[in-house]
Symmetry: C2
Subunit: 392 residues, 2 copies
């Protein structure tokens, strides 16, 4: 068995995540490991909490990064807030609403589905009808930014509806956080999870979560224990909860947290609002190039996520062959469609640090070259110049 | 809010974990992030599987690192193998047996406890009595190396007993793996979890697990779905399972896996047997110094883990004050006692890369100096020279 050290290729990551990690974040992850109860480390944990509260626009005390990827953050929200027999309204307009349904059912809950087409936003009217028809529902769950389609839903309106009908809200903000506004307190979101590997420009592996006071009350009043020991909020908060006394729960992923800390420091330096503006600006440049190539978007303009662009395939193109050439010839990763959208779209991410002019122009240039070579593009060269005009 | 980049102090980590991370592993974690479905990445995943099989002495196909710390690895074993109503015999001789009981109960199982004193190995006779008295038991769970006490149990004998009474075995090898022999196939272990941050010399955050064919059969025959979506083995294996076709489950912690890969490559270079020898040799050097200071061990010699030394406090010493001085004046971390052993022992780890002569001599020198200053050591200077003789 001859296995030697792994030296990854240097890619440009413009798929649905992970996105490019800033060199400052990579460097932070290589700093010396220290103990998870070392006062120097727990001081850094306090910083991470404060920075997450800033990023999530919340003063929720229960705000922390789960020591595992976004799907564990999702599970943390459901296992703590759903008890056996609870009815949960799940809005589905892509892959991740389906995963929410799985979570509800594995908690012993009953999922009532509100279905919208993949690529469209969740329809608040359908949610309201379902809430009216299910007065015993306890939770409304929806995906703010569907990573599988690039559609954004109106989290403020959906959360207000949930509250109007005495439900808590669980919100998936994996792809939205730091790319478009996520205003936890202003919108009244009760439980939210995100991921480190999208617009936070950090490596994958951590999932920021936050719980409102209302959510904490619900958890405190549970009749049954939380089915997961690892994801039991009340236990995790014994470690993350306050600065003076921490009890051991699990061993925190020390170096991964160094990375998240650095990524959040950088976001604070740029300013959250400025990051939103940057994501929009780069999306508009990409859009100009995409449209100049004669291509179009899956999602209508007002629901479109600037950080995740679902582009419809031109007729007769082998989508996997294009992605493979981009990867092999350009070290450029873009994403495929999932589920019903497999073979129908590409997903081009402009997330976090990766949302920059260089990536926009590089991606358009590479895509244009490959499509032209495959005789599928309208006119070679138009994409980049259209984007340059949009940037200028 | 003025929060700047975090530069951790450089500690020597000789507590119960995390242990010192080798510079090669730190450097690996900072390499460029690539996509979790990139062929270059999935090729590396295959290496990680092969190297874990080598480290665990197993040919189990279901061998992989869980994308979360050891306590999630523990939970993965229990949620997949325990169904509601299942009776599980849990051997407890420290903190982590208690956590196993929690896991069984949160899966809806019934835990039957076999209790041994903290600091002692699990008594096979007690287990056999309990197995005889509970013919309907389906699983036996025990901790191979109790991180809270430094005691090692006879995993081979306990597993054989489990099989004799038609039970599967779940084994905690968080602290033992790569420090002392863990022979999964030879001993017939059915499910085992470990952690990256102990004798594997890697940063915390990943949990190697393995499942035998017998365990896989049990999982396949389940009547109820696994309660965790994130930890459902059959779903996780869709991503880790085979080299040709992988389906997306969650986004793998890419950079953390680079670190584990490098740590396993280094272990392979040294040789697993040689790593065991090194852990024993450094333990004996530490022991010589500890005993020369007039101190003694909690665990009797034949059950003592070389990688985790539980040292009884000398009379009248404030244990927290000693640890604080070691940390502040020597940047040296050793561990406190947990639970019933709080205030009674220190836990001195010699794990993985941290198990080396330099650390042994440094720790003894620092401990001797602090204890002498607090007028609690027999004779200043004897510890290091005793250890030097033992090393020589």
């Amino acid at each position: 068995m001859a296995i030697s050290s792994f030296n990854p290729p240097v890619r440009t990551l413009m798929g649905p995540g992970p996105s490019d990690v800033h060199p400052r974040v990579s460097a932070a992850m290589a700093r010396p490991t220290i103990g998870h109860l070392d006062p120097a480390f727990t001081g850094m944990m306090e910083d991470v909490k404060t920075l997450l509260q800033y990023t999530l626009r919340t003063s929720n005390e229960m705000t922390l990064p789960v020591s595992a990827p976004g799907s564990a953050g999702m599970e943390m929200c459901f296992v703590n807030l759903v008890e056996p027999g609870d009815k949960v309204i799940v809005c589905q307009n892509g892959v991740f609403g389906g995963r929410m349904k799985e979570n509800v059912e594995r908690c012993g809950g009953v999922a009532v589905m509100v279905e919208d087409a993949w690529g469209e936003a969740v329809d608040p009217n359908k949610l309201e009808e379902t809430l009216k028809a299910n007065p015993d529902a306890r939770v409304v769950a929806f995906v703010h930014a569907e990573t599988s389609t690039g559609a954004q839903s109106d989290a403020k309106t959906l959360t207000a509806l949930a509250h109007q009908y005495d439900c808590l809200s669980i919100v998936d903000a994996v792809t939205s956080l730091a790319g478009t506004p996520v205003l936890v307190d202003e919108w009244g979101i009760d439980a939210l999870y995100s991921g480190s590997q999208k617009c936070l420009s950090c490596a994958p592996g951590l999932s920021p979560v936050t719980f409102s006071d209302r959510a904490v009350e619900r958890i405190t009043a549970r009749k049954s224990p939380v089915q997961s020991w690892f994801l039991d909020v009340s236990l995790v908060m014994g470690y993350w909860g306050n600065g003076t006394k921490r009890s051991y729960h699990h061993t925190a992923p020390v170096n991964a947290l160094y990375g998240l800390h650095e990524a959040l420091v950088m976001l604070r330096e740029e300013g959250l609002e400025q990051a939103w503006v940057r994501h929009t600006k780069n999306h508009l440049a990409l859009r100009a190039g995409i449209e100049a190539m004669g291509l179009s978007f899956l999602v209508k303009e007002e629901d479109r996520l600037p950080q995740l662009n679902a582009v419809l395939l031109p007729d007769g193109v082998d989508e996997a062959a294009v992605r493979q050439r981009l990867l092999n010839e350009y070290d450029l990763e873009i994403g495929a469609g999932l589920g019903v959208l497999a073979g129908k779209i590409w997903r081009i991410g402009l997330m976090g640090y990766a949302s920059n002019t260089k990536n926009v122009l590089y991606c358009l240039g590479a895509l244009d070259a490959v499509l032209s070579d495959m005789q599928a593009a309208i006119t070679q060269g138009v994409a980049v110049s259209a984007a340059q005009s949009a940037v200028g």
